[in-house]
């Protein structure tokens, strides 16, 4: 990691075969997160089979269940939007992950890595709305629109947070951002941006407390009419997006693979796991946030805070340049 900036634009990328490895790694993380969430739910319920083993096997059972399950089509559904919307979610999440350093190097070390991540993660807006609209069902429709307003609330603080990280490193390249944290992790000089990033990671994956678009009060919301493989693709994509969003916090704020004794990839995995644990745990501490309240909070509190954070980091960058 101590190398100087790579001479050619893509010298720092992993070999091409890792495009096949990436889905496997993310899938393993997704599986672990599902198991952890199931274990926590089981503890809250206070019944049912407990223990790691049964929690791990739940993801297998759910996958099997949805693979053998019949698909559904609602009356006069807009099938193209509906099915494409569902597929966009996992594909977008995977494409966003292309710039994640798996250790020291990512699958593709794009010079505009941060922008790329942002662009792919925003595909979730389209996906959830398309799935919600396409079903021609009231609950889906309302759920789809709920996600749009959720986007209006979380997206700007989120963008300020990731731009602050890019500002601190004077680089949009994710490996460049990691390199800039060799002495000091960005979480230390931009804690507000880090916290806002975690909030928006949950919000973009419509993960609790931001699960209103697929909420229980809407009987499943945007996903209410999905079954079989369609449901597997959509919910799997959602879990994947959660994992990718959490993993991105590591290079942006937590020093990437930086850490003593262990190899970089182990540190990346450990830190990603820690971020996911926080997100999964936080979901159980709060009720679902209503967007007509949260939008106000996001715009009046979070946006000024993240701008102030960016200003502080800009001054730090200037001071460093002057030294």
């Amino acid at each position: 990691m101590a190398d100087a900036a790579p001479s050619s634009p893509f010298a720092a990328a992993l070999p091409l075969w890792t495009v096949a490895l990436l889905p496997v790694l993310l899938g393993a993380f997704t599986w672990a997160v599902v198991a952890f969430d199931v274990a926590l739910a089981g503890r809250a319920r206070g019944g049912g089979p407990s223990g790691i083993g049964s929690a791990v096997v739940v993801a297998v059972r759910e996958t099997a269940r949805l693979l053998v399950g019949q698909r559904r089509a609602t009356v006069a559904a807009d099938r193209v939007l509906w099915r494409v919307g569902g597929a966009v979610l996992p594909v977008g999440a995977l494409l966003a992950a292309v710039v994640l350093p798996l250790g020291e190097r990512p699958v593709a070390d794009l010079s505009v890595g941060v922008v790329w991540f942002n662009a792919m993660e925003v595909l979730a807006w389209a996906s959830v709305w398309m799935v919600g609209w396409g079903a021609n069902s009231v609950f889906s429709l309302v759920g789809g629109y709920r996600f749009l307003v959720q986007g209006l609330a979380y997206e700007l603080p989120h963008m300020f947070a990731i731009i602050t990280a890019a500002l601190g490193a004077a680089s949009l390249r994710v490996t460049g951002i990691v390199d800039a944290q060799q002495n000091l992790w960005f979480v230390a000089i931009m804690p507000v941006a880090f916290v806002v990033y975690l909030i928006s990671a949950a919000a973009m994956a419509f993960w609790g407390p931001f699960d209103a678009p697929v909420g229980r009060d809407l009987a499943g919301g945007a996903a209410a009419e999905l079954s079989g493989i369609d449901r597997l693709v959509f919910t799997g994509g959602r879990w994947l997006l959660l994992v990718v969003a959490a993993a991105m916090a590591v290079p942006l704020f937590l020093g990437g693979g930086d850490g003593p004794w262990l190899p970089a990839w182990v540190w990346v995995a450990l830190k990603t796991g820690a971020v996911l644990v926080v997100l999964v745990w936080a979901r159980r501490r709060l009720p679902t946030l209503r967007m007509d309240r949260y939008v106000e909070f996001a715009w009046v509190v979070l946006i000024p805070l993240t701008i102030a954070q960016a200003l502080v980091v800009a001054i730090v960058v200037l001071a460093r340049g002057a030294m």
């Binding site: 096949a20 889905p23 559904r72 699958v107 079903a135 021609n136 307003v149 200003l311």
Partner: protein
Amino acid sequence: MGEFGPVMALLGVAAALVAAGYGLSALLAVTRTALDVAPFSGGLPPVEHAFSRFHVRWYPVTMVFLAFDMEMVFMYPWTLVVSRVGVSAVIEMFAFLAILLAGVAYAWREGALRWA
């Protein structure tokens, strides 16, 4: 292969994975015919199609959002030149953001950020 070569390859892998899922489902599902159903709203049949002009009560927020989102496009390249251009770059960007924030404050006072 250019910088985006691996990205294209990954797009292919992702599409193949989704397609494989659909293929597996076609092989393994108890039936291939999709179930044709009325949409669910609690068990009674629907009265009308749900496709409708939706009352987007938060429409003013989308307008304010657009203004900010355009600004973000300028902010990405700006991050790269801050240390080179120096103080003036910081002053210009944050003066711009301050103007936008004044707009947000106005929208807030007008009640655009609250609708229920």
